[in-house]
């Protein structure tokens, strides 16, 4: 059986929209069976999409869907390259309607668009399933969103029935790749090693360029050619579930043992037990070999029977985050920034959890309670930016924090400049495990 080529054109909502065209051109030139995925759904993205849908029921899917698909939809349909994406977010049917509109604009026949459903547990039926599984402190807090991570088999069935575009909400990210592999090779639900191999191919693809030289460069230590033109990855998946990771032709970036190793363990806890809805993948015997320029082969991934439960994630309103910054530079700048910090701290009192950073001295390595910053002896930095951040359920209290930093312009130490303030609503999440049999994943073909 021919190998399957899967290209990845996005690693998150807001990723580059010019990524797909070079991948599609490479897939077409290869002449092999192929699929194209867009991973557009980080954990919080779906909750924000649910808020967008509340404001306008026609929205709630990936805002960049049009920009992602417009350059490549016609080519993919013409060359039989299936498009699989979680860009349905909170509204997969809305996304399908958008695909039909786009196809019409491009002068195409309506494509066969499948929509995978069953992940959304925010409705009454889902809520009655989830509530008993959530901790008591969540009682009475309404859901912003609640979704269970679905697996790959609905995607696979939709493809086997002729879908040209498969739109999902929440599925496990590797399922976007595993689904096309199951459909192509005809694997069953207990082909554990094969499912695990293709799951890890999907894991390597799901963050876009992070496996092909993105998020990797460290000048002089880990150099990446033409990082500005980094190519997005393509996995060549074999019938045994192993794969070779490559990238779009004539692109920048780098696929080598180091880039693939870093991504192989990205966001993984126990490498011998990577839990997904379809299989438990085991990397303990996995091997990587450079088999050509920008080509790395992953083999030896083993699979164990899938978990009895599926992960669900519920989101709730989480109050307000306020952030405000002001800069000090020149002689005695650090001492002035530290004085400004003490002024804000004293005037705010104990109204909310507050964090201070001295950007230039210590910012992101420090802890929220400020112990690490307080242990750092004052120095003589000459360009320091003070940042204050706080959270509170009451927006008025957040406004007070922002005004305290703003008024440093008038009442604070000498020479402060560049005040910026921002506030935004936060979301708060709780994960739980639901029994697999309580979840009913399904798919439908959308009507143009």
């Amino acid at each position: 059986m021919e190998n399957l080529f899967v290209g990845s054109a996005a690693g998150g909502s807001g990723d580059r929209v010019d990524a797909a065209a070079p991948i599609v051109a490479t897939l077409i030139a290869s002449g092999h069976p192929a699929a194209l995925i867009f991973e557009n759904l980080a954990e919080r993205t779906l909750a924000f999409a649910q808020l967008a849908k509340r404001a306008n029921p026609a929205l709630g899917y990936e805002p960049l869907l049009d920009a992602e698909l417009r350059p490549i939809l016609a080519d993919c349909i013409r060359h039989g390259i299936a498009i699989v994406s979680n860009f349905g977010a909170a509204n997969p049917r809305g996304a399908a309607a958008h695909v039909f509109r786009l196809a019409a604009e491009l002068g195409l026949e309506p494509p066969r668009v499948a929509v995978v459903e069953g992940d959304d547990l925010a409705g009454p039926e889902g809520e009655s399933l989830l509530r008993p599984l959530l901790p008591p402190e969540r009682a009475g807090q309404p859901f912003v969103s609640a979704n269970v991570y679905l697996g790959a088999f609905e995607i696979a069935q939709a493809l086997q029935q002729g879908a040209q575009v498969v739109i999902t909400g929440r599925v496990a990210d590797p399922a976007l790749t595993l689904g096309p592999a199951i459909a192509h090779f005809g694997w069953g639900p207990q082909d554990w090693d094969r499912l695990a191999g293709a799951t890890m191919a999907g894991h390597l693809l799901e963050c876009g360029a992070q496996v092909s030289g993105g998020y990797f460069a460290d000048p002089g230590h880990k150099d990446v050619p033409d990082l500005a033109g980094v190519g997005y990855p393509i996995a060549e998946i074999m019938a045994d579930g192993s794969c070779v990771i490559g990238k779009a032709a004539d692109s920048g970036g780098l696929v080598d043992l180091r880039t693939v190793k870093e991504q192989l363990l990205y966001e993984i806890h126990d490498p011998a037990a990577y839990l997904t809805p379809d299989v438990v993948a085991d990397l303990s015997q996995a091997t990587l070999v450079q088999v050509g320029p920008n080509r790395v082969r992953l083999a030896g991934v083993r699979g164990h029977p899938r978990p009895a439960t599926l992960k669900a994630l519920a989101y709730f309103e989480g109050g307000w985050l306020g952030e405000a910054e002001i800069s000090y530079a020149g002689p005695n700048a650090e001492a002035r920034a530290r004085l400004a910090m003490e002024v804000v701290r004293q005037r705010m009192g104990a109204t909310m959890p507050l964090r201070f950073d001295l950007i230039g001295a210590m910012s992101i390595f420090g802890d929220d309670d400020g112990r690490m910053l307080s242990q750092q002896p004052p120095g003589h930095l000459q360009d320091v930016r003070l940042r204050a951040a706080g959270r509170h359920d009451d927006q008025a209290e957040i406004d007070r924090l922002l005004r305290e930093v703003y008024s440093l312009w008038l009442c604070g130490p000498a020479g402060g400049g560049g005040v910026r303030t921002a506030k935004r609503q936060r979301l708060s999440s709780t994960a739980c495990l639901v029994p697999r049999e309580a979840v009913r994943p399904t798919f439908i073909f959308a009507k143009p």
């Binding site: 460290d218 180091r258 870093e262 363990l265 806890h269 450079q290 992101i364 390595f365 999440s429």
Partner: protein, 127 residues
């Protein structure tokens, strides 16, 4: 810990790393550039030394998973993200930069294993 027969250098000179987050936990994978440095990582970048490095952020536990076939290891550092992406007040609420913090750790190398000046991290087969 100092030893007259060894030289202290930052982990950054012999290894590379990437961090990821899930909830309030951070994982950091760490790989030696050269196979002969894997034993150094195994001996010196331990659950204890990583817990010590991150003590200012008070993780509740550090677990290490060795992957000798890949020349590396994975650290799971629990409850180190001040609540994680939804709760933390940190600019880097994901802890994306914690891999760089790990690479600032000092390790002791015998002089024979020191990376050549100006070529640390260069991988002749893949560079």
């Amino acid at each position: 810990m100092s030893n007259p027969l060894t030289v202290a250098i930052p982990l950054h000179a012999i290894a590379h790393a990437r961090s990821g987050d899930k909830g309030n936990h951070s994982n950091i994978c760490l790989f030696a550039y050269r196979p002969e440095h894997y034993a150094i990582l195994q001996a010196q970048v331990t659950e204890q030394s990583v817990a010590q490095l991150f003590s200012g952020r008070r993780p509740s536990a550090v677990r290490r998973y060795l992957l000798p076939l890949l020349g590396g290891m994975n650290f799971l550092i629990e409850n180190v993200l001040d609540g994680g992406v939804n709760e933390s007040l940190n600019l880097d609420m994901h802890g994306k930069a914690l891999s760089s913090y790990l690479l600032s750790m000092l390790v002791q190398l015998p002089p024979a294993l020191l990376p050549a000046a100006g070529h640390d991290g260069h991988h002749p087969h893949t560079g």
